[in-house]
Symmetry: C2
Subunit: 387 residues, 2 copies
């Protein structure tokens, strides 16, 4: 285990009938608020009305900024920042999944500076303060509801960049599993894939010394994400399955598993960001394409860890190499079972595009300082993912 | 999973060479401080000097309240409160294990009220504010460094009571595994036993609905606590083993495993408190006596959960009943292997004392509202533990 500092001050309110807490919790942070949401699913399933009623009952002055798309866009965030400044809002409320929460975080940070918000993503400026943020989560996937990360796509340059800062942690996040009953099967699966990817990025990029406490925690999460995802695909209104999936997805990226791991990489996300930025495919779908390819490459470097994964997560036995490779195969088969794609061709991306994708990914690799990931490495991984 | 609210604002600074952070971290909270510590082990191993140097360098005005004993006493806390009031301290700094931190918490709460601090423990008064608390941990055991619980023994009535309140969470806790290199083998083992007990209280007293995410987390912690304890008993200066044990013990009782479990009991602690209150045995030693006895009784009520424990923690296979009972046996044998007692007779407590012990435990059972734990039940458990 390596030295670490852990401080996660997000208050989680988890369970049924908790949406009504958003008004009082937000009122403690500010009176003039900006309500950020997506494309209308919250209007269809009644969540919008519940949230608005709670905010209104708490006496809040509400400005609205709807229309966040998945793979959220810088241009839309910039408009939100303008509105937040004009209305002099004191707090931001996000109602949605990771795209909405990330947009709200960017607005919360961007509203307090004069420079363009993209400067944060290019690591040209540091975040020093933010408006307080509260969230009502509607999708088990990104983990943004309990961490200080955010990802945006620059619609001009087609770069999808991410940035992390403790100040971006929401003050309060409300996690009501019933709000995810209406998430369709494809996005339910993509959310599970995203959460698994968050865990495996950490799990497979740590180096010595070993982290046995964190390993068991991560392995347990992967097992539970797969099990609960299958449960809710079979029965979308299975409350316990939705609850397990929602909480496990939050835990996958709230800092608890990563504490003590030291420097970890995010190579799969780095490469996937280029797929969703260039082709606008779902982030989870891109990850299930990149993951097995990256894992097969990485397994040569860390065979012991991959073998441990196969043994503990899929109950495999045998030689180190066979457990390692069979574990990757099992995961890939699970992706296929939940209808998440496992090759570029399945989503209509041609192998001929690989150099262009790799070039795009390199821009992020440079900012994230993923040394060793030159264009050849990225192209090799994409080639493995193309068939 | 059941509804929950999770909010743990303790900042953890973990690793080597972190003790020097105590000065600056505390200075951000107050200038006049009370330094609480134990019986002198921190003077022998040099931690006292390190802490004092850091506090002095930060310009703090220090009052000292040493002499906390294990199974910490109300009388000593009362004296600390008196000193804190007289010196008008603005923050409390604890340097030690659970006993020291719990005493510091009681002082931090008691210094701001006019009534006697024991009123909190009798549930006659509620904690509404506390002085800010920072900690330097020197023992992997209680978990008090990252939770809102505290336990004291009333030296007049010989009642050992506990109370929990979010305001008791330390603001900052420094966990340097090297500080535990000098913990002797017996207390190293008792600490591991204590941490395992914290996990199993939760694990075996939850009811439906199931909590598969939390279960895997708890099983992984038990596996790692046993492994790392054996590692450091073999080599007391094994940094990685000390680090794993320290962090796992913190996680065992910081609210992460319990989130979503609903109402859980603390029956083993309740009964053990009477052993350490009446006979002043080490808390961990008392727990390894009570645990197998309580588990054998409880296994009849929750055979499936006990079987799961045996299978996942000790890799057992077979019928539900055989896995359940063999799992308890394996744990009991592990206690014996690390020289933690497993029967009352081993610590010189006669079976003839059982009615008196049960009477003492009942006083706490009433306050903690452990319904169903009448005197007969407690006597039955103690009788199972006596041979």
């Amino acid at each position: 285990m390596q030295n670490f500092v852990l401080y996660n001050p997000t208050k989680i309110i988890f369970g049924t009938d908790t949406v009504g807490e958003i008004g009082p919790e937000t009122a403690a942070l500010g009176r003039k608020i900006l309500l950020v949401y997506g494309q209308g699913s919250i209007r269809r399933n009644g969540v919008y009305e519940q949230v608005l009623a709670s905010l209104a009952a708490a006496g809040l002055e509400i400005s609205e900024h709807g229309g966040v798309v998945s793979n959220p866009l810088l241009s839309h965030v910039r408009a939100g920042i303008e509105l937040a400044k004009k209305k002099q809002v004191e707090a931001v409320v996000a109602v949605g999944g990771g795209s909405v929460i990330d947009s709200a975080k960017a607005i919360a940070a961007g509203a307090l500076v004069e420079h363009d918000v993209w400067q944060f993503f290019k690591a040209k400026k540091s975040i020093r303060k933010t408006l307080p943020l509260t969230c009502v989560l509607t999708l088990a996937a990104a983990g943004s509801e309990m961490n200080g990360g955010m990802v945006l796509t620059n619609d001009e340059t087609r770069h999808k960049f991410g940035v992390g800062n403790r100040l971006l942690c929401p003050r309060v996040s409300i996690l009501d599993p019933t709000l995810t009953f209406t998430v369709p099967p494809d996005y339910t699966a993509y959310g599970a894939v995203d959460a698994i990817a968050h865990i495996l990025e950490f799990y497979f990029t740590t180096r010595d010394p070993a982290t046995p406490v964190q390993d068991r925690f991560m392995e347990g999460l992967v097992i539970n994400i797969m099990a609960s995802c299958e449960q809710v695909l079979a029965n979308p209104s299975d409350y316990q399955g939705r609850a397990d999936l929602m909480w496990a997805a939050t835990l996958a990226l709230n800092g608890w598993t990563a504490a003590g791991l030291g420097m970890v990489g995010f190579p799969m996300h780095m490469i996937e960001h280029s797929l969703s930025a260039l082709y606008n495919i779902a982030h989870g779908a891109g990850l299930s394409i990149v993951m097995p390819a990256w894992m097969r490459r990485q397994a040569r470097l860390r065979p012991g860890k991959f073998s441990q994964f196969g043994q503990r997560v899929f109950n495999l036995a045998g030689s180190e190499e066979s457990c390692a490779m069979a574990g990757i195969k099992c995961l890939e088969e699970w992706f296929a079972r939940v209808n998440s794609p496992t090759s570029l061709s399945q989503v209509g991306i041609s192998a001929a595009d690989i150099p262009v994708i790799a070039e795009n990914a390199l821009a992020l690799a440079r900012i994230w300082r993923l040394n060793g990931y030159g264009k050849e490495v990225i192209m090799d991984i994409l080639a493995r993912a193309s068939a």
